[in-house]
């Protein structure tokens, strides 16, 4: 909980601007890693601070500090007020108090066992069992099990009486095995990113995965390179998460479309007039912004503006209908958006971010999807990603692929890559499976100043036609 009374602090400073707010954030992030059965990393980061926010002459400005004393708070407000008043005449848009809706409420991650119910030793032992289980061949040169355990408390209050308390319990678990033959290395990995508790650390769930990825890493060493051809491409959900993130999530961010991000991550091929009209993909494509989904990494009840977070369709039956735009971007553009005004921590201002961006399930059974393929390639687990600054031309690579012919898996392929253009690619979507898997990332980078934020993505297996695939150099 907060070490000072946030609501009285807001009230003490309420006269200094047209609207004031304070967001207090306390986050403990613990890294535990075992590599080749030996300790690799044990570190906890206790990050605690606050951000004051003022609205003056239609311009929002911020100041951040870890000094919660009256003097520390006073200095933060002085800086925010002085700088915001000084530069309000250069504001990009005349904002009002409407961009800070008055809401009150709470959010708490749903967990079965609290993260502190396992001791350091118990977690370390499980991770060590993971790397020991990966020891299936002498060709394995690196076996890694890493847990990133995050506990976050956020308390926000505003001068008009708004107040939100949100607490999160998250784990990012990574398992990876690297096999080597000569100077060739092949990696297989698995990862889990969820709002979850200590129930994620289950040996009976993790150890079979460890054994499987270690065997697959070794198998890849003797596999053929992925052929270069235009073919049908089936993507597993752990690659779909990257495809959704890069070619749907980022181009739909309204602050990008409005140009805020042009000097860093880039612009977008989407224009404001595209909303409600653009055929983004095939009619099988239904994409939602869903911060309400149980256990997904970026679920929450309120964004940093105080807006209440609700599930919304971004793309419906293939048509672009809504932007990933916060209440500020909505005011600037007149385009419908979502509650996605998010900051990475107390020392960065909120910007338009993804949260949980999900591809909704279709109707095809996965077995039928495979059996219906005359020839195609199934790719799993991202290992390489690159897309242009308008989010159009992309090239992605995966760890593991399988050639499917006449409805059967024929062989393993290594170094699989594919490339394409966003709209062509999504309009080539020909089948969507009926079961969903959930992944995400704790490391989505964006913004000036730069910020990493957590995102979640759920997707079924998907099948695309006419995709350029290729392998490694020989």
């Amino acid at each position: 909980m907060t070490h000072f009374n946030i609501t009285s602090a807001v009230q003490r400073h309420r006269q200094e601007a047209d609207w004031v707010g304070i967001k207090w954030i306390s986050e403990k992030t613990t890294f535990r890693a075992i590599r080749n059965d030996k300790p690799e990393q044990n570190q906890s980061i206790y990050d605690r601070g606050l951000r004051v926010e003022v609205l003056i002459d239609g311009h929002f400005g911020y100041a951040s500090t870890a000094d919660f004393s009256p003097q520390g708070l006073e200095k933060a407000f002085q800086k925010a007020v002085h700088q915001t008043r000084q530069w309000a005449k250069y504001k990009i848009h005349p904002f009002t108090r409407e961009q800070r809706p008055l809401t009150k409420g709470n959010y708490r991650s749903q967990v079965q066992k609290s993260l502190d119910s396992l001791s350091v030793k118990e977690i370390t032992d499980i991770l060590r069992d993971c790397t020991m289980t990966m020891k299936t061949s002498d060709l394995l040169v690196n076996r890694l099990a890493r847990a990133m355990i995050i506990e976050t408390e956020i308390h926000a209050a505003s001068s008009d009486g708004g107040e939100q308390l949100q607490s999160f319990s998250m784990v990012n678990l990574e398992l990876a095995a690297v096999a080597r033959s000569g100077s060739e290395n092949q990696t297989r990995s698995a990862s889990f990113q969820n709002q979850i508790g200590a129930e994620v650390f289950l040996r009976h769930r993790l150890l079979p995965i460890c054994e499987n990825i270690s065997r697959q890493a070794v198998e890849l060493l003797s596999a053929e390179n992925c052929p270069a051809e235009k073919t049908k491409l089936m993507l597993a959900p752990d690659q779909m998460t990257l495809q959704i993130h890069e070619s749907i999530g980022h181009p739909l961010e309204l602050d990008r479309i409005l140009g805020d991000e042009r000097n860093y991550a880039g612009w977008s091929f989407i224009q404001l007039e595209d909303f409600g009209k653009l055929q983004y993909g095939s009619p099988l494509m239904n994409v939602t912004f869903d911060p309400t989904r149980f256990s997904e990494l970026a679920s929450y009840s309120f964004d940093d503006s105080g807006a209440r977070a609700t599930k919304e369709h971004l793309i419906k039956d293939g048509v672009l209908v809504r932007a990933l735009g916060s209440i500020e971007s909505q005011a600037r553009s007149g385009i419908p958006g979502v509650a996605n005004f998010r900051s990475s921590s107390w020392n960065r201002p909120p910007i338009d971010r993804m949260a949980n961006i999900n591809l909704e399930a279709g109707s095809t059974n996965i077995k039928d999807m495979v059996e219906g393929l005359d020839r195609g390639i199934l790719m799993q687990t991202n290992r390489s990603w690159s897309i242009d600054d308008y989010r159009n031309k992309f090239q992605f690579g995966c760890e593991y692929a399988q050639l499917i012919e006449d409805g059967k898996v024929k062989k393993i392929l290594k170094n699989p890559n594919y490339r394409g253009k966003t709209l062509e690619f999504w309009n080539n979507l020909i089948s969507v499976a009926n079961e969903i898997e959930t992944y995400g990332s704790p490391y989505c980078g964006k913004g000036e100043p730069s910020q990493v934020i957590r995102v979640g993505h759920s997707s079924p297996y998907c099948l695309f036609k006419d995709i350029d695939v290729f392998g490694g150099l020989t």
């Binding site: 980061i45 206790y46 870890a66 700088q83 504001k91 308008y390 253009k421 100043p449 910020q451």
Partner: protein
Amino acid sequence: MKIAEFVRRIEASYEHVAKILFNELKGSEEAVLNINGEESLFVRFNQNKIRQNIFVEQAFLRLQLQDTTRMTKATWGLTGDLDIDAKEARLRLGHLRAELAQLPEDPHLVKLVDHGHSHDDKPSLRQDEEIIEEILRETEGSDMAGLFAGGPLFVGNKNSKGQNHWFSTSNFFFDYSLYYQQKAVTGVVAGRNWEPESFKKKIHESQNLLTLMKRPVQPVKPGKYRVYMAPGAVSEIASLMNWGALSHKAYRTGGCALQKFVDKEQQLSPLINLGENFDLGWTPRFNSWGEVSKSHLPLVENGQLTQLLTNSNSAMEYKIQGNAAGEYEGPRSLEIKTGTLENQDILKKLDTGLYISNLHYLNWSDVTMARFTGMTRYACFWVEKGEIIGPIQDLRFDESFYRCWGSELAEITNFSELAPGVLTYGEREHGGKKVPGLLINTWNFTL
């Protein structure tokens, strides 16, 4: 000076906390302290207006506690209040002590020694708030997007053996793009002192370059082309060196994209000379163990590997000599040495091909073959018979270091440019690079 007040307050608290922590160690316990902090003003621009402004004071202290066989770490924020910070430090020490007893033994634990003392303080008289209006005045009429970041920042390191290093500076950067419709040019102005005339000159150069972007877009299909990579593009390529390419640990664990080069199965051009040059002054020479790197550390000389970056952990694990590399064994102050190609000869020697000023979103596409993909970005031009014809539509490429820094490398410019680090993830970046331009015989564009 008022601007240094936060730094002084945090430094005093750091000294106070260090004394307490080192005094309270028991038995075989040893400790390392690392501090990173900054007082920053960030102003974000779009359409030559201010999108957001934030003032940030932050300082993070990391305590590494170890005994003879085990080690663990905790990081927390310092407030500048001696009593609050001392209380928090004692709490963290107690937690780490309890945790240490639960951890397995670490056979690669680095024993602490006293790596000496250093003090490097680079103050500045700059007033960042006054610069903002100057930026807006000078770029008036342009469609400018960008970020100003400035203020004091500091790094310190101490250990319980008596070691003590301090590095502080006060610098700024203004990283910007000027747009004409969907075409743009980019630039960075950076330093410790604000120089209005050189800032105006830089902006005017960018505005002049932007006029070239108004020419008709040249249709260039994917394929192999002769290219000139300007220093801005080479800086992006060189950034891949931070993704394990020069790391000894990555070499041993399967993440080194230059493994075939290290194993002498593939070669780089004898024109390639690169290494660490801490004389650039952007980042301290000491690492988080307090080890001080040589000011010049050659990594590749005349196309031959001199050494990989090796930190003390890797040195212990693989029983080799370390070279005071950082925790992630990536270059912290990389310099690629110049060659002989003169500025006025670049277009003539390029003849017909592409002039690439910047690249975007590079990533390894095939680590085994040092192959990487990415996009052209900003001012990139089609050149015919030594003359710039017009800008191109951005292209995707897929290339290997063994070609572009190997068999296909024709010449390196006789000048280089400084590329200060402008990333601000969590904190303002300390490092930077100094790189020349490269003339490359063929470059593979794919989409």
